[in-house]
Symmetry: C2
Subunit: 434 residues, 2 copies
């Protein structure tokens, strides 16, 4: 809006992996376009990475090199916006964030662990110093969901945010369903194809999704980002037989991050869930991400796109850089850091919902009576029940879905099932999300 | 970011129809939430509408009343952000926009006709005076697509924007498909249910979609909004038989607004199109809106939600008000008004694509030879051809789809078909959007 004079955005980029290289490419490719949109020139002045000699498919010899990323935020660097693409909740990423914001320098990051863990501290520092703290790339890659929640839907009291936030998990679940393969086989293949890391723990155990969910919950509900109290389950235990039963029952299994306003308070949770195949989110396949937001005025809005990769993540980083250039204000987490409510998530035992339970049982008289007796005593009411075929490894499967009930009752039921002689393995439970 | 002191947003609302009442309700319901998010208090000071005594389900007696909406922008009103919900490309809406922006007062509008027609002039005035001009509610209701294009995807060269932007048309097409009804019957029903206006011209002839497309094209491609040169077709001519053939061929018919970068330049167009049923946009049903954006870095992102109605539109208006409060800067149309390129859309005759053509012909020897001869001579290559059943009113239908061709050839082909004795009615043509 205001005349920009000879103001200029001078970037220092920490981390030159895939995303860092992507940011460099866009800044170099779209010089004129970005200047028009930013209202001022944008240039890269300095970079930092672990290995100076590595071939990254980009020429960084024209930029100042720093071995220590924290030096990008030094007065000598001339940098006025630091882009942090190192990763990790602590270590150099945190040190760089504190240094940059502490000096009133804009800080743009794709680091979900950093924001999920230290978001409140950094937002407070940014506000104190009048510096911009931006993290669009931290959640759902190229989908501008941070901006949608913080700005586009800011007129709404948010009822819930649900997302498919991890492309690796969605890719694995998609292939398990399409090809009828076991988890381990798809994982191995995904690793070879570059869809999963050599150490896939972060993705498949839901930790990555939990970081993103913690950030979305903070923006949606004005609470401190809280990764400590976020019940998190991954997809390792999903068996092909569950995917088949899901299909038969009209569901698809997705790893969801959920932040939801309930009568008990704010629920945050990460777990595989059965979602009805008619729901928009059920039809998000392969490595695509999607977020569904319910607001009191707007109703439901849905956002879909690539959740990772060079281009999509760099696109989000550039959006943040342009926001800083344009002087887009407002608090980083939607409301001032000192107004963020302490996170007091509802314990998962209090979650009310419907459930899918699969048991492998010995095929003999009285089994069904034992099972239904426990359900009745724990006050869990059955919506549907299937007993069919013989399990590969002996026994038969009993699959049931419940009417709405509280999770504590389901947990107690599962405990008692496990103790039954006729139950041959630990029961499988999946939450159903309507 | 900066301390707001005792700054305050003082609203003057022009137009108290459904959306105006929705804005009043949100501002009154969420006083504390909005103040937290805005960084300052937001209050309504003054309102203006045609009829002071009408019951709107809200109490406006506490607000100053102006018979002339332009007076909301007078120094005496005390208003510092005007919300324009009158509608219409000229008249009082335009006068109010000029008055408010001319005085450096923020101007928030849901008026697509105004921005599509006078967007460049108003953006230039806003920039000259350092005032905010915001119009999130003008396109796709509650979906924050203006913000996504202007900010969230600002790091991308945009390849295309395609949207279902009119809920009335999508509702009618959905019911025609689901219930096998004729256009006129569904329209009548939609009017009774409030999904269509008494005079539905604006919606069903594509004019509303064209206004929105002109705005999206401007944001996507940095061109002046241009409603004059935007080829526009509505859905009146869609027959149940076309919907049936679409289904058989794996498509669904949707009214699309398209702005697309091609080798020839920027194409903008509004027309019903056949979209593959597997595409996200094909599965957007009833009155829901959706926009699909292709960017060079981000790839494809999809945005879905309610495109109209009290809550969704008011949600978008509030997002703009909060942006103004937070000092969200940057030019209204994505780049400074004086940098907008003149619109020089590619004539629709140059559009390259694939086509669906339906003919009703007399069922006699030689017909197929006549038709295929013309296609060959006009260089239109056939992808598929169906001849089946007898049309209700005599003759048989021939339905064909083409390989990629230029629209001028299709137009010439259709002209020649029309002149054939064996062709019993004006041929139907629909573009296929992959």
């Amino acid at each position: 809006m205001s005349k920009q004079g000879d103001r200029k955005i001078i970037l220092g980029i920490a981390g030159l992996g895939t995303v860092g290289a992507g940011v460099v490419k866009i800044v170099e490719r779209h010089v004129g376009l970005l200047a028009d949109r930013a209202g001022c020139a944008i240039e890269i002045r300095a970079v930092s990475a672990r290995d100076r000699s590595r071939d990254r498919g980009i020429d960084v010899s024209g930029y100042d090199w720093y071995d220590n990323p924290v030096d990008l935020a030094s007065p000598e660097s001339g940098v006025n916006v630091v882009v942090e693409l190192i990763g990790g909740s602590d270590g150099p990423a945190l040190a760089l964030a504190r240094e940059a914001l502490g000096r009133g320098i804009g800080f743009v990051t794709a680091n979900k662990a950093l924001i999920a863990t230290h978001g409140k501290e950094l937002a407070a520092l940014a506000e104190e110093k009048g510096a911009a703290l931006k993290f669009e790339a931290a959640v759902a890659g190229g989908i501008p969901i941070i901006k949608a929640l913080r700005e586009g839907l800011a007129g709404n009291a948010i009822a819930s945010v649900r997302g498919i936030l991890n492309g690796t998990c969605n890719y694995i679940l998609t292939r398990m369903e399409r090809e009828g393969l076991a988890f381990d086989d798809v994982l191995k293949d995904a690793q070879q194809l570059g869809y999963a890391e050599a150490d896939p723990t972060f993705d498949i155990d839901g930790i990555d999704t939990a970081h993103k969910t913690a950030i979305l919950a903070s923006l949606a509900f004005g609470t401190e980002p809280d990764i400590e109290n976020l019940p998190t389950e991954g997809i390792r235990t999903i068996a092909p037989v569950d995917i088949e039963y899901a299909k038969e029952l009209g569901y698809r299994i997705k790893l969801l991050g959920v932040a939801q306003h309930t009568d008990e308070g704010i629920e945050t949770r990460v777990h595989p869930a059965m979602v009805p195949t008619r729901a928009a989110i059920a039809n998000v396949m392969d490595a695509t991400n999607a977020v569904v937001v319910e607001g009191d005025a707007v109703g439901q809005t849905v956002y879909e796109g690539a959740g990772a990769g060079e281009g999509p993540t760099a696109s989000a980083v550039l959006a943040d850089i342009l926001d800083v250039a344009r002087g887009v204000g407002g608090p980083s987490l939607g409301i001032p850091a000192d107004r963020l409510k302490a996170s007091a998530p509802v314990p998962v035992e209090k979650h009310r919902g419907t459930y899918y339970i699969r048991l492998r049982v010995g095929d003999r008289p009285g089994v069904m009576a034992d099972i239904t007796k426990i359900l009745a005593e724990e006050n869990v009411s059955i919506e549907s029940m299937l007993q069919r075929g013989r399990a590969d490894d002996g026994g038969v499967y009993i699959v049931l879905t419940t009417h709405e009930t509280v999770e504590a009752s389901v947990a107690a039921t599962l405990d008692r099932f496990t103790q039954l002689d006729c139950v041959l393995e630990t029961p499988t439970m999946l939450r159903i999300e309507a």
